[in-house]
Point group: C2
Chain length 418, copies 2
């Protein structure tokens, strides 16, 4: 990209941008670009310290080891750093930012969150006039691909995961993606920018998408929602609530309509609400974000990595999901015998939970997947609550389980609204 | 916004931002903010020249008169300028940009296009690594409101325009909005940023939405499209095609799903394709964009108004819509007598136009609105072509009209695709 756009970039940012040195694991690999005249370093740390570079671009990955060593070396040498490494910044963002400030340089990481979508720039610069209330995003293409395929083709989670693996959208070990950890890393960076909290993946309540069934997707559709794995950072009084979980999103939200591996971020400020949609991963998206950062540096821009001085970032604190307030979707496999409905209703009422809707399909419908073979077969019941607390929902469900009126653990999905 | 966010902005951009002087037509009007301690100028030009200001923010409007005089005075004094004035920049952008460069200052105009959506920043900075192929946008909330209401409620253009006027979304004289001129002004600025062409509204082919009927909206829905008033700037060989017109947009595009007064911009680069959705107008959106620009200036950023030096901007040249290539939707009120279908088909074939679909509903259906009262009543026929040229379509239609097989002028709507 830098070679192809050399003249235009020089013209537009006012100075040429040149790749002068490279380090990688394997020098012989064909990278489809001419590296003659570019110095080769066997050791990335040595390159990072090189006095002849202005900017060090780290595209290694991993929150420790060579990536961290090289970035720390670059900062210690006062070089500007660009990185696509969300894990590194999620785990060591505060100390790296402090180091950069002390050494008069900056860290750019547009490529680390939502790939080619300029959401870092939006939060760090464009929306400075806004007090942000919430940032929520589809930040993992693998999960969105799987949920989209399940919804559109009626396939199971396992079948869609397998397809994602075949297409290279998912790793052989998909844990990092499908269990929400990748989303959590990215969310921790967005939260720092939006709310001035220290990046800290451990402060985030994380649930993945393995539990989502076709019954849930179908019920969501009927209720006017789509199910997305969202990372959500939301102002909750003086605190910031940080959570990653499958979420019911109103169908008419732009973010609900984002399908496949595409990413999207919705930012709710007190002045404007934006949704940014674009590619979340891949070489082109990463290159676009990295080159954008390079151009910012070339144009002489200054600032701090997270838009706040490192010492001004507050600790996020562990999100107390029990205190989360919102609507809930609850799917129960209710045992079909007298008193079941009454027991469920009573335990909801005991926790002051008001129900917005109750959906019960005849047994044998696709919902729940069971066939009516006896009067005892579980009947899927879907409850949608008005705003309540996580705590109340969990208490009600515990009481219902003790009563023995449901045949399997209930499914609980949080609803996100305006 | 500056008062409310004073401390945070100072902390984040590294210096305080202070409103030191104001000028407006009416000093006595209640503006819900404390202007004590702020100097008042009866004359905006005098304020623009004041040596004690760093930044002059122009929110007057109009492409000549006081707005232009004041901006020119600010630039002559070397002050940074922020403006929400798309008309001013569309008409005088090149000379103002030249002046700013000569005086060592810059012009910021995030608020001038798509209000609170940071699309100027995206094109000027974030996407510098991309060669842009196309920028297309819903840039006028009035038109999108009207088209949305027509589609959702089956109301006529006139009825929806009247509602828009009652709600303050449309002016008493709606020409500037509904005939596409506002969109054209904004498009000329996006084209400058994306393609390095001089802003020039006269270089744009402009059509408004007055001709759109319910029959078109219903046919679009059946064919898998939404009709939006789009501004489109697209690379066409060495030239740039600039056009504003009602457009058939595939339903699954994020931009197709943007409803009401909301704006959206889709940017197709060679590395990434982005869609940005947000508020296009209103005090809050404008304030958000203006404050974002102020913060950029406060953070010491430099650059050029259009992302290129003024002298490097090429003339856009008048868009030759005859050479436009793409798919077309054509709705004909066909006279119902023997030979009509054959005549239409023959004239299309003579121009080498291939048809992707032909839709003919029985007379009396809502399409076209006519009732079948005689064998001669016109029957609405909808043709969708494969990619062809505007020229071919216009020739075919002229030939069909000469044949006398259609009862009223045909409706032609361009289709936008990937």
């Amino acid at each position: 990209m830098l070679a192809r756009r050399k003249d235009e970039i020089a013209l537009r940012v006012g100075r040429p941008v040149e790749v002068v040195a490279v380090s990688a694991r394997d020098r012989t690999r064909n990278r489809d670009c001419d590296l003659s005249g570019v110095r080769w370093f066997e050791d990335a740390v040595e390159l990072a310290r090189d006095p002849d570079i202005d900017v060090f671009v780290e595209l290694i990955g991993g929150h420790d080891g060579i990536a961290r060593d090289a970035v720390e070396a670059a900062i210690a040498s006062g070089h500007e750093v660009i990185t696509a490494n969300k894990a590194l910044l999620a785990h060591h963002g505060v100390s790296l930012a402090s180091g950069a400030e002390a050494n008069g340089c900056n860290i750019y990481f547009e490529a680390a969150v939502a790939g080619g979508i300029p959401v870092i720039k939006a939060l760090r610069e464009a929306l400075l006039g806004n007090e942000i209330a919430r940032v929520s995003g589809i930040l993992n293409g693998t999960c969105n691909y799987i949920l989209t395929r399940m919804h559109e083709e009626g396939l199971s989670f396992d079948a869609c995961l397998e397809q994602a693996q075949l297409l290279g959208y998912a790793e052989a070990d998909p844990t990092f993606d499908v269990d929400g950890f990748d989303t959590a890393h990215k969310l921790s960076l967005l939260a720092a920018l939006a709310f001035g909290v220290q990046p800290d993946p451990d402060a985030i309540h994380v649930e993945g998408i393995r539990s989502i069934t076709l019954a849930d997707l179908e019920a969501a559709d009927e209720l006017g929602y789509r199910i997305k794995l969202l990372g959500v950072a939301a102002r909750a009084g003086a605190a910031v609530e940080l959570r990653v979980h499958p979420t019911m999103v109103p169908k008419h939200w732009p973010i609900a309509q984002v399908s496949g591996v595409t990413n999207a971020v919705a930012i709710d400020g007190d002045a404007v609400a934006l949704t940014l949609v674009g590619p979340g991963a891949g070489g082109d998206a990463t290159a676009s974000a990295v080159v954008g950062d390079i151009c910012d540096i070339a144009a002489g821009k200054s600032g701090t990595p997270f838009g706040w001085k490192a010492r001004d970032l507050r600790a996020a604190g562990k999100a107390a999901i029990q205190r989360h307030e919102g609507g809930y979707y609850i799917r129960l496999a209710a045992v079909d015998r007298p008193g079941t409905a009454a027991a469920i209703a009573r335990h909801m009422a005991e926790q002051n939970i008001s129900l917005e809707s109750i959906m019960q399909h005849r047994r044998g419908r696709p919902h729940g997947g069971e066939r009516a073979e006896s009067a005892e077969a579980p009947a899927p019941v879907v409850l949608v609550t008005y705003a309540t607390t996580e705590d109340a929902v969990r208490r009600a469900i515990a009481a219902i389980e003790i009563d023995g009126v449901i045949a399997s653990p209930p499914q609980v999905i949080r609803i996100e609204k305006d």
